[in-house]
């Protein structure tokens, strides 16, 4: 009854083969990350210092630090968030809580998905046409952040919608039956229980925004500008563009410098992602139903 037939044997062989194959794929996936991080630390680790992080570039960007780029990226990301988060959360609330399922909302959904698929260079050129020229913001933090905001809006909308949809319908029905309006229901029950998912989406958006180069290249990021920006109408340096510049555009840069810049940029993104993951795990433990 339990003898191993030829068919069993071949099944077991195939089983083993597939298991190894899939495990290999995972390894292949992890390998590049490890190689990139390893290279960056090995080659760029030596330039990381307090000086490097908190001083201006000198000698035609072949020496000195990255402070203006670091601060510039913080500006760009912050302004982009201030625009995209309220907009995206409001849109998601409308789509999930107010709008019914009809041809109109389906078209909007399609538009959001397509917006996420537009290449970043197209967003960049749109940003130039719309914000730099048409609205007359010039090349500025505002124009660059608006471009970034539009590009990352789908992330916020999708993350918010998903976390709103995860709040059980029964809670809403209980509220409505008590005579609560839709807004009272959203404010008292839906949002407090969806906020963790929304914040996770926001942090993911931050890490995505931090690394983008193309959308800010023509709209607000400067090649070299050894001053800190004072308002959203100033131009600024940014980490991602600075990396591009010191790697390819400036002669005589010591080899370790671009690696150091890349290491700081990757570290910023990784830290953001780690916070997002840790936050999600923390809130999952506090689930209220």
């Amino acid at each position: 009854m339990f003898e191993v037939s030829a068919l069993n044997k071949s099944n077991m062989r195939v089983e083993k083969l597939y298991r190894i194959l899939f495990a290999m794929m995972v390894l292949l996936l992890v390998l590049p990350v490890l190689i990139i991080l390893g290279t960056l630390v090995a080659k760029g680790g030596s330039v990381i210092s307090f000086e490097f992080l908190f001083s201006n570039p000198t000698d035609g960007m072949t020496a000195g630090g990255i402070l203006p780029a670091l601060i510039g990226t913080v500006w760009l990301v912050t302004v982009a968030l201030l625009i995209s988060v309220p907009l995206g959360v409001a849109a998601a609330i409308y789509l999930n809580e107010y709008a019914g399922d009809n041809w109109f909302t389906r078209i909007i959904n399609l538009a959001i998905i397509n917006l996420a698929g537009v290449p970043s260079i197209v967003h960049a050129l749109f940003g130039v046409g719309a914000f730099v020229i048409f609205f007359g913001f010039g090349t500025s933090i505002l124009a660059a952040s608006l471009t970034l905001a539009i590009m990352t809006l789908p992330i916020v909308i999708v993350a918010t919608r998903e976390s709103l949809a995860a709040v059980p319908m029964a809670f809403r029905e209980a509220m409505w039956n008590m005579g609560a309006t839709r807004w009272q229901t959203i404010r008292r029950v839906v949002l407090p229980n969806a906020i963790s998912g929304i914040l996770t989406g926001v942090i993911l958006e931050v890490s995505r925004t931090t690394g983008e180069t193309a959308p800010i290249m023509f709209t607000g990021a400067a090649f070299f500008l050894p001053f800190l920006p004072e308002s959203v109408f100033d131009q600024t340096m940014a980490m991602s563009l600075h990396l591009f510049v010191v790697s390819t555009q400036v002669p005589g840069v010591p080899e370790a410098l671009p690696y150091g810049v890349a290491l700081v940029l990757v570290a910023m993104v990784l830290i953001m992602n780690s916070i997002s993951i840790a936050f999600r795990m923390y809130l999952r433990g506090k689930k209220k139903w």
Partner: protein
Amino acid sequence: MVSAQGAAEAVQSSTEAPVKMSVRDVTISYGGVPALSDVSFDVREHEIFGIIGPANAGKTSFLKSLNRMDPFTDGMRVEGDIRFDGQPVNRLRNVYALRKRIGVVFPLPVGLPMTIYDNVALAPRLSGMSNRAELDVIVERCLTRAALWDEVKDRLNSLGSLLSGGQQQRLTIARALSQQPEVLMLDEFSIAVDPVTTMRIEEVLKELRSEMTIIMVTNLVQQAERLANRTAFFLGGECVEVGITAEMFAGQVEDQRTRDYIEGKFG
């Protein structure tokens, strides 16, 4: 408000008490597909009005039409005339005020993901009350009347959604009571509750009858027999008959299907 003695008399003669809700020729459909057709009867003040019938009879849809949940339900359409205290509800602009006067208890208990205290204080707060002392009084009174106070009085700040099923169902009742409703609608409240808790809730309902009108949809024929003054039998989207419960269960029915259902021959 009727005095306690007056209420008791009203219970005695529920066929003569003033009409609380009247229903005439009500037809409910979802996206053009009818769920319930041509229902007409009156629910009188201070009675427990039972609605029995198998699944898909249209019982839950009927309750939704009474407190105007149709705009919040996809594709739901209600025709006919429903009146609350003589006012036609389907022409009301302020459906929120109507819903506040009708408390609802669902088949599955819904403890909202907030503290026990906040669950019960929610409805008063939604109506603009914020005085902590007044809220304390309401919370204690409603939890007491829902027979839950003794079990939770020491942990009012723990989550309502983490109570046991039977406790959550009593919490739901306390929340409904906090609206100070004139009508309490229960939709198969005992479906997810153990028999002991069911009996406790039934005792609660008997006491509440002196203060409000209760419309109770139930999947248990005996529950209607125990509690309801009058009972309606719904079957397949039709209201087969309405009668005084005691008479119906004594065999005085107009329709053979009612007799069969009550005797447990189907459904």
